[in-house]
Subunit: 271 residues, 2 copies
Amino acid sequence: MGSRYGLQGKILADEQSKFQRITIIESANYGKGLLLDNCWMTMESKDQNYHECLVHPAICSAEKLDKILIIGGGDGGSAKECLRHEEVKHIDMVEIDNRVIELSKKYLPNLGGDAWKDQRLHLHIKDGQDWIKTIPANYYDVIIVDSSDPKGPSKGLFNKKFFQNCKFALKESGVFASQSESPDAFQEIHIDTVKTIREVFENADPLYGNVPMYPSGFWSWTFASIDKPRYHNPKPRRIESIIETCEIWSPRWQKGGFNAIPACIERALKQ
Amino acid sequence: MGSRYGLQGKILADEQSKFQRITIIESANYGKGLLLDNCWMTMESKDQNYHECLVHPAICSAEKLDKILIIGGGDGGSAKECLRHEEVKHIDMVEIDNRVIELSKKYLPNLGGDAWKDQRLHLHIKDGQDWIKTIPANYYDVIIVDSSDPKGPSKGLFNKKFFQNCKFALKESGVFASQSESPDAFQEIHIDTVKTIREVFENADPLYGNVPMYPSGFWSWTFASIDKPRYHNPKPRRIESIIETCEIWSPRWQKGGFNAIPACIERALKQ
């Protein structure tokens, strides 16, 4: 298997969908989790390490939260984190693979939690690359790309044209967020992704953290915006509404994560 | 094996010393590395992720660098990082297990590098717990505890009495540094260690980073001082002398790492 987090345990589901191999395992040490094409995507016991870090820096700092787009995110974790904010009025979740949603709902219900029943969540089983091309200018307040690695069905979510389409669909006062791979295990992809997002958006910065089940454990998310680097300034009322129940994220943690760029990556991004 | 970083490859040495099992492996993906009692200690390709983070916040901020103590550190990595600073006049390195030093010199020569030949490095094959009891007050400028996990030969390097002895031996304007385990994989030990160091020293703060070959990849080091939290203020001339050749550490990275405390750990430390 292409992962390095303990896999001892039993397989609850394992199937080849139209797009990818989907595996749900119950590991002896870490509980239930999801693998796509043999790579860890998430697990119930550690989903905050990924989803809080991808969602809250964006959703706490966009000017409004009327319309949110999540591309990917079929396990439900990103939608759940978004919907903790009462200001969120409407989420379009565009997931290419319906089987990821169905198997996550069945075997990993805690990941999505009540999000699946929330009237504000609107599911679309479509390719996010196609979806974004149909959106008018200045439409979304927040765009979250919650994808797997840039191969297979996620390959098209890491190129300049896609980021340009996202920028077109984003409000001037909105925030764009994407996972941007490991600065250790996938250093070149990480650097390329950040550089490409910076070519497209006026403001873009990588945030560093830890996702134990991913290769090396060292992970990144990149946030981008148009009018100002507003992802550095989460709004107090939104912070207050979630801070006591976050496992990882806090304004302090976020400030740290934006600064905790390894010296070698900082040099590479300047080149 | 009690580790989760790829172990495919060949074993170059594997022996039971008086204190522990010592294994040197050459892994297919990550090069040569050292395991003690089946746990990864370090590897040539990633030693900076650990040693830069343990050493430079302390050594860049102590008032003087006349006398340095390293407890443990038999692979040579901490000594090498210290000796990059010309101001360092004398290092006592107190390693309990001579075989760790001998096998590291033979199989992992890049870890210690020229440190082993440096006249400023003084090796003592002794138990650091005993050594520290013999030191007069206000003796060392920097004390670095570069230990394995708190069991076996390192068990005594994590208790209050040991930290008190370190404080006694440390100058008022000195800095104490210890690895303080994973906030993810060993969360309870991490919290206990930080709390205990805070009970002893006037100032103490954990710094968070990533060491890919350690459990979860998420790691911490705790810095402590007497006169003021001087580890937050590395001295410009020392920064300049190393910054261009650091892989991970920079003043910005360090500032980030001190802030990047997960929300759940921040709450636990307040209790």
